[in-house]
Amino acid sequence: MNVIEGGGRIHEEVQELLPWYITDALDPESKRRVEDHLSACDLCRADLVHERSVGKAVAAMPIDVELGWAQMRQRIGEGRSHQPKRLWSSIVARPHIVPVLLAAQLVLLVSAIVAFTPIARPASYHALGSAPVVASANALIMFQPETQQRGAVQLLREAEARIVDGPTATGALLVHVAPGRRANILQKLKARREIAMAEPIDP
């Protein structure tokens, strides 16, 4: 399959190497070939400008706080610790590393608090409808920005999804869907062009 338009082996090679030319991770010979070609190829120069922007944006991209905060809030609310069984077995087998792992857990907790602070707010739950909602969120949905309210509501109805909280700072909704059909429901939602993201959240 010819995936690169423009023709020419050197053009294809430069197209592939542009990201690492930008991050200065090429060996001198590859870097020289890229620069020689760039001086003669308008398309590659244009792509270089675009790719620099992409690289800069990805490097500055925040960790997806919404997913993390949804999990953290559930854990705080339930007041239980999340300790993998296999890790616990390892600790029992090697009691001398307990202080290290305790320190590690502390680092993780502090990191999580720092990372999640920007969207921190009271953990009150809002739901559509008048009946009290006891179900917790088990999925996160984000609509494309251009999606109209009517379309969004219709999609949620079709999925039998109930809004538990949101929208968050980035416009995501925390919803509850039928646990037994969650994978199927999220797959169908992802296939819709109105949906930017539909991801499960584990309790």
């Binding site: 592939e16 991050t23 944006a57 999990q71 320190a103 680092v107």
Partner: protein, 188 residues
């Protein structure tokens, strides 16, 4: 080999001798990078924590298998990558989107210029639409600054595969970030 890597390699040697202080220092050094890398690949905070600790347990137990042929960071990222794939498989989540390279993106964008929040929103959504393999190669390149050979070692594949994955990942990402880059890059 960088000064930083020489120090990290010295820590690994001490860890092989069961030096807990060295392990703690290495853990603290790599924690932020591993959280970022694992979360980018997995998109599941609950299993990121477990995968991170699984990765560091391998470092603790297998420090003697580090031979110095690659940078310490490359060696640890390779362990983390394998742990992430294992965790995704345990959860029955797709590791590789086999049609991702040929599928035409149906992403559509508004004509108006984008603000900060919307730009973040679009980039996060665009990254989320990629397969874990594509997210990994983009993150290793642009955030962690790895070259093609290091990424090939991390992902356990040929260098040419890294280049191809990156090319297709960029193309798909571009499909989700339409228009001129200045339209959605917030700090230009």
């Amino acid at each position: 080999m960088s000064c930083g890597n020489a120090h990290e390699a010295a820590l690994i040697a001490r860890i092989d001798a069961r030096d807990i202080a060295a392990f703690e220092e290495l853990y603290r050094l790599f924690h932020p990078r591993l959280v970022r890398f694992l979360l980018t690949i997995m998109h599941r905070p609950t299993i990121v924590e477990e995968a991170l600790n699984d990765t560091m347990m391998v470092v603790w137990n297998k420090a003697g298998s580090y031979r110095g042929a690659s940078r310490v960071s490359t060696w640890i990222f390779a362990i983390a990558y394998r742990q992430a794939l294992k965790a995704l498989r345990r959860q029955d989540l797709p590791v590789e989107d086999r049609d991702a390279d040929t599928r035409i993106s149906d992403a559509q964008g508004p004509e108006q210029a984008l603000g900060l929040t919307q730009a973040n929103h679009r980039l996060l959504a665009a990254m989320a639409s990629l397969s874990p393999d594509h997210r990994a190669v983009i993150d290793l390149t642009y955030f962690h600054g790895l070259g093609t050979r290091d990424i090939a070692e991390v992902m356990g594949c040929p260098v040419d595969t890294v280049k191809t994955r990156m090319f297709h990942a960029r193309r798909k990402l571009r499909g989700h970030l339409p228009g001129d880059a200045a339209d959605w890059l917030w700090d230009n």
